[in-house]
Symmetry: C2
Subunit: 124 residues, 2 copies
């Protein structure tokens, strides 16, 4: 075993992500069709950086939050990594733009337009 890959301790903390080629349009659309998940994606796109799960103050329990983040991750919309005790979430903009050019931007623009239209203009 020359390579002697030290197997960086599976640690049971590695999260399964679809590789770019495995991302399916239907799954992405489904992930974005939930208001709570769409809101999360909008926030992530706004900061264009990673955010911890606890940063989001969603009106549901932690368990449900975990579930929504998992749907987003497994559909390929976000990437999740552990950083110490925190789990950071980042938008997979490169992969999404590569596979579906313009899709994410038009969805984000549509969400923003609708937020204005529905009078949610004042932040929340």
């Amino acid at each position: 075993m020359t390579t002697a890959a030290p197997a960086p301790a599976p640690s049971s903390r590695d999260l399964p992500h679809p590789v770019r080629g495995e991302i399916r349009l239907e799954a992405v659309l489904h992930a974005l069709s939930d208001p709570m998940r769409l809101q999360v994606v909008r926030e992530l796109a706004a900061v264009s950086d990673e955010l911890s799960c606890s940063h989001f103050d969603l009106p549901v329990t932690k368990s449900t939050t975990t579930h929504h983040f998992r749907v987003l991750r497994e559909s390929g919309v976000i990437r999740q990594v552990y950083r110490g005790t925190a789990k950071m979430n980042g938008l997979r903009r490169d992969d999404l733009d590569g596979l579906f050019p313009g899709l994410l931007d038009s969805v984000l623009a549509a969400a923003a337009a609708q937020a204005v239209r529905l009078g949610s203009v004042a932040v929340r």
Copy 2:
């Protein structure tokens, strides 16, 4: 009474559609997140004309087909009208483009790109 609207016989054949302002992004994304419905929308966009329900040869029963067309209609993606015995379906491109500029086109492009990517290039 001048108008004297003769009430063109409700006939129980008028189909409820959301007006433009009632169309919700989440509902549209959800409607498009089903493979069968996405396929229908792609065909409608390809012909840019009305198509009867029976034109589509979906691998499900008539009942299920009716259900899918209703989801598309109630979400505001398509418009349905009766023409004789046939029920014609047309994409509401104007309304969708007006509310969510570029969204429909990028979804259609993404669907086409994915179809190619998955090797479904040879028809079925």
